[in-house]
Structure formats: C-alpha cells, structure tokens
Symmetry: C2
Subunit: 428 residues, 2 copies
C-alpha cells in the first residue's frame, strides 16, 4: 500500500477502504507518514468529503491511536456531554451537578479555552484549590459517590487527533465536516461513555456559523455514534449571541451557581435544562423535567456542585462567601445608538473578553480569572445610548475592548429574534 | 502575510495576488515554508486551478528561484524546442541539425529519461565520447558556428521546480494543468530562448492522455509565453503509438541519422518537418519547407548532425561506420491474432523497452545503449500472427517483454487511424 495512491484515490473522489484509512492514520500517528502527504490527503478530504463508513473508519483508527478509558468501574449508565464551543458557555458547570442531583452519572473530561472560546477547566480553576487532575481511582470514586466529576483529558487520549489538529490548523483544512466529526467523536468514544449528548453551537460565535453546516456536523457525529453502537443526541443551539450574561472565568462560575440555584439567565437555563433532560432520558431516568425543576428549586443541584468542588479540593468557603476573584474596575459599556440589536459578532465578543485577559490568544498565555464581561446583549433587545448593556470587569485599559464591542454589536430598526434550541438529532 | 491564509484563499477559490504567489514560492524555495503547507496548497490548486495571471506569477517566481541563462552571446534569433515526452521520441536529434542546416540557431538543453519515456541526453550518449556537459563558452561558440548544440541542464536551473516536482510526485498533485505548465515554461524561460516550439504529446504514451487536457496544457503554456513576451507555438502530436520505429538509445540514433538523410519513417519525418518549419518561421527564415526538403535531400542536415557530434567530442568514425552499440540478439515478435491494430498502450511499449534495459525505472539505474525495440506497430495497421511486427533487440531474457507487448497491443476488426499532428496553438 502506498500513501500517494491513497491520496490520489481520495483526490479522484473514490471511497477509501477501511484498510486504507487504517494504514494511513496508524502510520501517520507512528511517524511513518510525513506531514506533507497527510496535509495533501486532508485537503483532498476537504474537497471530496468522506462517506459515513469512511468517517467511522477514520474515527476508529484515531480512537485506537491512544488510550481508551475503561469506565466499567462506574455504576449505571455512563453519560458524557460535549459542546463544540462558544462564548459564555459555562454549561458543563451546571449540567454536571444538575444531572447528578437527578440520579445520573456524568464522568466528564473537559478542555481549556483558546481564542474566543472559553474552557470549562479554566473556569473551574477560578475556584481556589480546584484540582482538575485527580487520579483515576479518585475520579471513579467521586462519580460513583457524588454522580459527577470534571477533569482534564489524560495525556494519551487520541494522540492522532492532536497531531492531525495541529496540522489542519496550519494547512487550512480545519473546516471539514468529517474531519471535525471524527476529531470530536474519537475523543468522546475514547473517554468511554455509553451515551453522549452533543451541544452543537450554531452562529457567529461558533465553529459552525450556519444551521446547514451545523446539521451536517451533527448528523455526521450521530452517525459515528451509531457505527460504534453508542446512543448519541445532538442538540443544535444558538450561538448568534453570548450564552447567558457572564463571559469570563470567576464571573461565569458565579452565573453557574446562580443558575444551579434557579436564578440563571433564561436562555442559559433553558439550554441547561434541555441538555440535562436528554442526558437523564438516555440514562433511563423517568420524569427528568420534573426532577430537574425540583433539583433547581430545592437546592439539590447547587449542593451537588458544592460536593464536586469539595471532592476535587476546591474551596467551598470561597463559594459560600461569594469571594471568587473580582476585577478592580467595573466599567459600563453603552450602545453606540438607539434601536434593536440586529446582529452580534459573538466571536468578537469572546475576543473582547480575551483582550481583558479572560482567555488565551496562544496556548502559553496566562488567564486572569477575575476579568470578563457581564453582557446583557441579546438579539432583538431594545437598547438606547444612555443605558449600559455590558459591564466590563477589568484589571487594565479597556479602550481596545470598547472598540471591539462597538464593531461587534450591530443596532438597527428591525426586531430579529432566534430560538435557543434549533433542532435535535438522535440515533436512538 | 501568513501561508495558511494563502492556502485558505486558494481553497475557497479566490484568486491569489502576485505578491501572495511570490511570497509562498520564494519562501518555499528558501526552506521557510514547510512541505506540509506547500502540499496542501498544491492540492487546493489541483482542485481550483489557477487563472492565467496566477500561472504567470507562479512561473515567474519559479524562474527567479535559480539561474536565468543569458543567451545574448548567440547571434540572431535564439530558438528552443521542448517535448512533453513520449515513446520513440528522438525528435530533437533530427530537428536540431535540420534547423541549423536551414540557418536557424537552436541552443537546446535536454533531460534524461525516466520510466517509459526516453531522454535525448541518454540517446546522444550512445555515441562514443559525446559530451553533454560542455562549458558555457564552448556552448555559445558551437551554436554560433554550427547552429546547434544539445547539452544537459545546469545544476541551478529552476531549483524551485525540482523541489516542487519532488513534492508533487509523492502527494498526488502532479496532474494539474497550471502546475505542469509553470514547471515546463519556467525551465524553458530560464534557458533564455527568444522563441519556443512545444511538442505537446497526446495519447496513451504521453503525460496528457486525451486531446482536451493536452489542449488546456498547450494553451496554458502559450499564454505563459505571452505573459513573458515570448513567441510560443504548441504542436499537439500523436502519442497513441510509438513515434517512428526505433525505441531505445543507439537504435534511435540510427533512426535519427536515417531521417536526417531523408529515409525516416513517415510519421516521425512528418513531425520533424512540422516542428522545424515552426522553428524556422519563428526565426524569420523564408521558405522553410523548401529549405528543409533540400537539407534532407542534399545531405546538409546529416552533415550538421555530424558536425555537432564532432564539436561535442563524439566519435564521427563510429557513426560513419554504422558501429553504434548493437544488442546480442534480435528476436522477432509476432502479433497474438490476425486483424487490425485498434489500440496501443504506448506507455507499456515504452516500459517493455525499459525492461530490456533501454530506460530507467529509477534515477539511479544504468542504461544499456544497445537494446530496444524496432517496432512497426501503428494504429490501423493490418497484422497477422505469422508476420513479425516488432524486432526485440535484447541482451537478455525477453519473456516478460513479450508478455508486456501482448497486453499492450490490442487487435480487432475495426480500422482505427489517427493523425500525426492534431492541432497547433500559437500566440504570435
């Protein structure tokens, strides 16, 4: 088998066999296939796509390039939840404890933020002492006892994806549906869950900017789940505006706590309830909506969060006393004109938070846990120049941030509104 | 400027600016752009093509990556001739002396053979002592005095093409019209000629297997010539059958000598006369057809060949005494059935000659100058199993060669004939 023949075959839009896909990915992961052949193949895949079978074979080979986590020490149905990433997306902080409070078991491995999107691990580390690298035994014990743990990925989870993603990033081959689907699903499958809920973000702050592409990605991921005999539900949700109000780290933890106590922003709460309902349904738990409502009302959800923080070494006192890091200044931001918000460049809103220090421009950057945006901008909101719509939590200059916000928020005279949830796609 | 943005732009089918093309090629040639980005860009070019302006910019940057030969020491119009490569293609050996005999000046840099195609330099080296690496001063003196010299390319002619071609070869990005056109034309333009005749082969023994692709390639090359202010004529010629009879090295030199004396195979002679006519016309020489006929008849063309051989250190005595290397055995090959030759896999005929030792499977292989095929197979020829159509000149076993020939020659009951010259495309 020669890699050049495999590239040529894909270039000419023939379907690759499982053996061919296996050969090229395995040898790439082992360093036997050079980057220049892989990038040519990736570009050919960008143009000609992959069939459902090809995508499954790719996922399988990526998955097998590293460790596959065995969750059999966990009792009951092992649930997992994944978001394709957005702005103000503190969903896991709420959904994890909420599902646990209703009897589900969520063994969650999360990532860090990069660019305009935040990361769950970064947010949790705003809590003093919170440990995202607990050992495997502690992880299993915690999930069995409390029902939820959120940790970082182990080093050797799908190493082929790390290599491929780094290569795609510099060769303009990132936005390919089968490559994205295989990348996400190989990691989810390697994480060992039985049933998975995918939060596929759609809009100006998401990886998939339009509904059509998001649907294709969701379908591809659900189909991969099917090929591996895993129940998968994809929830397509709105990312044409920041999710909830808070964008940052400590500030998002505070909003998650509010939401767990039943006082969250509507859009964020609706999404969390929806995702938790799907997870609980997959786990076979009855009356999930009612259980969720009760847990949010009677404090169970919040108490699960506190238990998780405690189990992972985080400071419960800091949470109880509402003394998470706070920025030195809170500066109001006023709209540039009167009217309705008709369009938001949500990625730019995320970038504004990054400029404050809430996120990373490159992997090496340090994060300022205190800063961020408290944003009340939503599509269709009526605004005026004398009423602040964003509170900028800052430890430094904000001129550039204000400029970015001015450009990112379009005000007009039309009333534009979009749903919170667009669609659900499932294989079960 | 970032290379990943340039790749993305081409991927999304936007037109690259001259600056972008210049940036990426220059930096690639200098080793600053990694192979993996270049191969992704090449694949994007494979899919989306290049405009005329982009192709010209690519050619210019490749050309500038190395030495550009200054032919100003040559008197009169500097002519060049290039073939895209075929089987039995000894055209330069005839066209060079023929043009010189009629008053033209051909300063020709040639290449070696690889795979099923032979190379002019290899053929000339069948003549004892023939030196293809004469110095620049000798080269100019010879062209000025005799009118023709055929030498190897200097080491630093278009180094970017060497790098790019090696990369294309292993990333399935060879068959892209703009890339092929820029590769050929950058070398032609770097060789310094004023006016160029391109012999674009079409058919089963050629790089371009169908007329449509060959036309596109010819147009692209003629357009590049136009962008550089050079008159270029492309002659699209038949490569659905071997050219002439001889396929090998010494054996092709003998056929070239016969042709220079007016006794060549019809198809080969027609092509040589056509190419020489175009070259002489470009040089502004009047009545070219008549001059050519005279030179072939009165021995002038042959004498120019002898002068060239002599000037480049080759043995004139060996030619005069017809003592070029000969194979130990000459074995007749008989058709497998009666009928007409309806199809020839000409590349496979070339490969049969290579198996005898007349060509190289890889760059390091040594050539046997004596061996080859004397083939009388032409499309439309009536054949019978009791009349040999090929004489195999061999220094070893021929079983495999016969098998290849059996498969390569299709016999049927239809009379298929194709022209020798399909079309001419020019910018003058």
């Amino acid at each position: 088998m020669r890699v050049v023949d495999i590239i040529e075959k894909k270039r000419d839009n023939f379907v690759l066999t499982n053996e061919e896909i296996s050969y090229v990915i395995k040898n790439y992961a082992e360093g036997n296939v050079p980057d220049y052949q892989m990038s040519a193949l990736l570009m050919a895949i960008y143009f000609n796509g992959m069939t459902r079978e090809e995508t499954a074979a790719l996922t399988k080979e990526m998955l097998n390039s590293g460790d596959v986590i065995d969750l059999s020490k966990l009792e009951g149905v092992k649930l997992d939840k994944h978001s394709t990433g957005g702005v103000g997306d503190k969903t896991s902080l709420v959904v994890g404890p909420l599902v646990a409070a209703c009897g589900g078991k969520l063994a969650k491995m999360s990532g860090r933020g990069l660019g305009h999107t935040g990361g769950t691990l970064d947010k949790l580390e705003a809590i003093e002492g919170f440990n995202i690298s607990i050992g495997e035994d502690d992880f299993f014990r915690q999930v069995n006892e409390i029902g939820v743990a959120i940790v970082g990925q182990t080093a050797n989870l799908v190493p082929a994806d790390k290599l491929l993603y780094a290569l795609r990033d510099v060769t303009a081959t990132v936005p390919s549906i089968p490559l994205i689907a295989a990348s996400i699903m190989s990691k989810k499958l390697a994480s060992g869950a039985d049933k998975i809920v995918l939060d596929v973000k759609v809009g100006s702050g998401a990886f998939m900017e339009n509904l059509e592409d998001a649907e294709k990605l969701a379908e591809a991921m659900v189909e991969i789940g099917d090929s591996f005999g895993k129940e998968v539900v994809a929830v397509l949700s709105n990312m044409d505006q920041p999710l909830g109000h808070a964008i940052g780290n400590a500030i998002e933890v505070r909003e998650a706590i509010d939401t767990l106590q039943g006082n969250g922003p509507t859009d964020f709460q609706v999404l969390c309830v929806e995702l938790a309902t799907e997870l609980l349904t997959l786990a076979g738990i009855e009356n999930p909506k009612k259980k969720i409502a009760t847990a949010l009302e009677n404090g169970d959800a919040y108490r699960k969060f506190v238990s998780m923080v405690d189990a992972q070494g985080g400071s419960v006192a800091q949470i109880a006393s509402d003394s998470l890091p706070r920025a030195k200044e809170v500066i109001p931001y006023y709209p540039t004109e009167n009217g309705y918000i008709v369009e938001i460049d949500t990625a730019e809103i995320g970038r504004a938070a990054m400029l404050l220090g809430a996120g990373r421009a490159s992997k090496e950057d340090e994060i300022d846990m205190a800063v961020g945006l408290e944003s009340f901008i939503k599509l269709g909101k009526k605004v005026s120049t004398d009423e602040a719509v964003i509170m900028i939590h800052s430890n430094g200059a904000v001129e550039e941030v204000v400029e970015v916000l001015n450009k990112a928020i379009k005000i007009g005279d039309m009333l534009v509104e979009k749903p919170i949830i667009y669609k659900k796609i499932r294989n079960s």
